[in-house]
């Protein structure tokens, strides 16, 4: 298994959001704006990379019969550390997404990768898989955040200063004067937009795969 294959697999084909539908609670709750989505993506990345690397490094010492409590303890530790750093250095954003950062600990995407990958692979492969999984989750979060914000308020990057400081006050872009679909900012809107987005993503991926495997592209079984 090459690192390139692991990375591509984690980002696209086994994407935690649109392929496995894992971690949907924070994904739907926090993606009402692009900046909130980016904040949660950064927090989730820190937790998944830190905890899975730690689990991989300690895998020979973690008793098989107590592995799940150990994984949860390590993930909870990294979630608490991330939450504390956010509260210390990005307080305004922390106030908006704190409740969802705390529930990263129950995100089955992270526990799933710990059990299926980090506890069986070396540190190098685990880091690549964790970065790929985090990037895949971040892609889904940012895309969903951008679409929902655009539909609900007609803007992009609203409240960028919460994450990037006073220099980002002028970053927000007003794309439309009249919002197209205000419901997109609400929880039902999150389900609707996410469902349509995941369906469109899967159609695109399947079309891409079918296109690659078509006989006239020279990859058919008859010609090989």
């Amino acid at each position: 298994m090459t690192k390139g294959f692991i990375f591509k697999n984690a980002v696209l084909e086994r994407n935690p959001a649109w392929a496995q539908l894992l971690g949907l609670c924070p994904l739907l709750a926090v993606s009402n704006t692009m900046i909130n989505a980016l904040g949660l993506a950064i927090a989730s990345t820190a937790v998944i990379v830190g905890s899975n690397t730690c689990i991989s490094a300690l895998r020979r010492f973690i008793p098989a019969e107590a592995r799940l409590p150990c994984f949860v303890l390590i993930i909870a530790t990294f979630t608490t550390v991330t939450s504390a750093w956010l509260e210390a250095y990005a307080y305004d954003l922390y106030l908006k997404i704190a409740l969802f950062v705390q529930i990263i600990v129950t995100n089955c995407m992270i526990l799933g990768r710990a059990e299926a990958f980090a506890s069986r692979q070396n540190i190098g492969n685990t880091v690549v898989d964790a970065v790929g999984t985090a990037l895949g989750f971040a892609l889904a979060l940012l895309l969903l955040g951008a679409i929902r914000e655009l539909l609900a308020t007609g803007t992009l990057l609203a409240n960028a200063d919460l994450l990037f400081g006073p220099t980002a006050v002028n970053w927000p872009i007003q794309v439309m004067q009249t919002p197209l679909l205000p419901i997109a900012a609400t929880p039902p809107g999150a389900f609707l937009v996410a469902g349509l987005m995941f369906a469109a993503g899967n159609v695109m991926l399947n079309t891409l795969k079918t296109g690659i495997n078509r006989p006239d592209r020279g990859h058919s079984h008859e010609r090989s």
Binding site: F61, A66, C70, E87, A88, L95, L99
Partner: protein, 162 residues
């Protein structure tokens, strides 16, 4: 068996060490941020700026002839709810939640930035606040706020009597 126990103790110790280190690294900035937030919220509640000498870590601020702030907390559904209560002569009260861990979408209506529920209690005396209905689906959270209001009213009365 012995090796398993040792492994678990070592993993627990490592996690503990990481948490303690993070706590010492971040406790200063977190304290500053929380105080600034509390000061901002209290200024908004009062309608005028608080003087810099006011000690926000004390349980009471102000005097009974003008206004009194009381710092309190109550056990909600998912942890402690921290509040500030503003009391004015005559008994009118105003409450705001500083920090909480209630369930998003269910118990977070107590946060005035997410829901106007707590704003509806503004200016009421404790006997009127006690008559407030519980919010369906979040009874424990509502009761925690009402208990905090009773606790504040009792303590402020005692503070003013002294």
């Amino acid at each position: 068996m012995g090796r398993t126990v040792l492994s678990l103790a070592a993993i627990g110790g490592l996690c503990g060490l990481l948490l303690v280190t993070t706590h010492y690294q971040t406790k200063g900035p977190i304290q500053i941020n929380r105080e600034a937030q509390a000061r901002g919220l209290m200024t908004t509640m009062l309608g005028s700026p608080l003087t810099a000498e006011i000690d926000l870590t004390a349980s009471f601020q102000g005097d009974c002839t003008t206004w009194v702030f009381h710092k309190t907390q109550a056990m909600g559904y998912a942890g402690n709810i921290e509040l500030r209560t503003l009391w004015r002569p005559g008994g009118a009260m105003m409450m705001r939640v500083i920090a909480h861990r209630e369930t998003p979408g269910i118990g977070d209506f107590i946060d005035h930035t997410r829901d106007p529920w707590i704003l509806a209690l503004d200016g009421k005396r404790i006997d009127a606040i006690e008559q407030t209905d519980n919010v369906s689906g979040a009874t424990i959270t509502t009761r925690a706020i009402l208990r905090a209001a009773q606790f504040s009213a009792r303590n402020i009365e005692q503070f003013c009597d002294d």
